[in-house]
Symmetry: C2
Subunit: 150 residues, 2 copies
């Protein structure tokens, strides 16, 4: 229990929320993956770490983390249920193949100038962003509407 608190855990605490076992377990499960996870997979992973944690707490935690911009629900092919993406420094970028639903990530987005301009224009404080590009990946350029999963 004297684990070093991750930056996100600190963010949680600094926002005035309790660092409960359930929340820390959900956070650890999120951080252990590749940064993209569905609620179903997360429930499984959390259950693996501690079967005593209830479904409802996982969903409540997902809500809380979304409000804190730690994660962002996003739509990925086929399923209606969102996939939650971790927002490493408040931002995240990827390209989704509309045909096979594979996801390709990239880092550089060059949106700092735009962000700054919009802060002035709308008098908002902008804390992060999600940029999704859509298209057809190299493998799918020939075979439209196959819709296999990644």
């Amino acid at each position: 229990m004297t684990d070093p608190l991750s930056p996100r855990a600190l963010r949680l605490r600094d926002s005035g929320f309790k660092l409960t076992h359930a929340r820390l377990t959900v956070l650890a499960a999120l951080e252990a993956g590749d940064g993209h996870i569905t609620s179903a997979a997360l429930l499984e992973e959390v259950g693996r770490r501690d079967p005593g944690i209830g479904r409802a707490s996982v969903f409540r935690t997902l809500d809380l983390f979304t409000r804190l911009s730690i994660i962002r629900p996003t739509y990925m092919g086929g399923s209606v249920a969102p996939t939650y993406v971790l927002m490493p420094d408040g931002h995240h970028h990827h390209i989704i193949c509309m045909n096979c639903n594979r996801v390709f990530e990239f880092e550089d987005c060059g949106l700092d100038a735009l962000t700054h301009a919009l802060e002035g224009r709308f008098n908002m404080q902008i804390t992060g962003h999600l940029l999704e590009l859509f298209g057809i990946c190299a493998d799918c350029k020939n075979a439209p509407f196959k819709d296999e999963d990644a």
Copy 2:
């Protein structure tokens, strides 16, 4: 029945799908709004235009339009069900207030250069994008965690 086909209807037809009454009604309902609509609101609007159209067809049409990048599901404040946003020229941009969930739209994103660079790097054909920025709006800068709807 000799209505001028909207560009999106043409896109549908050109992709090899039938221009059915149900699909055209869903499209008209989508285009009549402000570009952001939940399935519940869409079902209502479609029902108003033609009560004979079934729920399942509306959902099937939403799937199809998503595959064609005519719309893009996105998750907005609180609700689990996605909100579908029209992608006017294949792209769409907005800012969401993390506190009150209001949405502010803007047009210019300056992502052409990035898009082009990524097409080369991943050997993909990029057809559109969705850019969401998150932050706290002018009205909410003082009052955190109120969470009223827009």
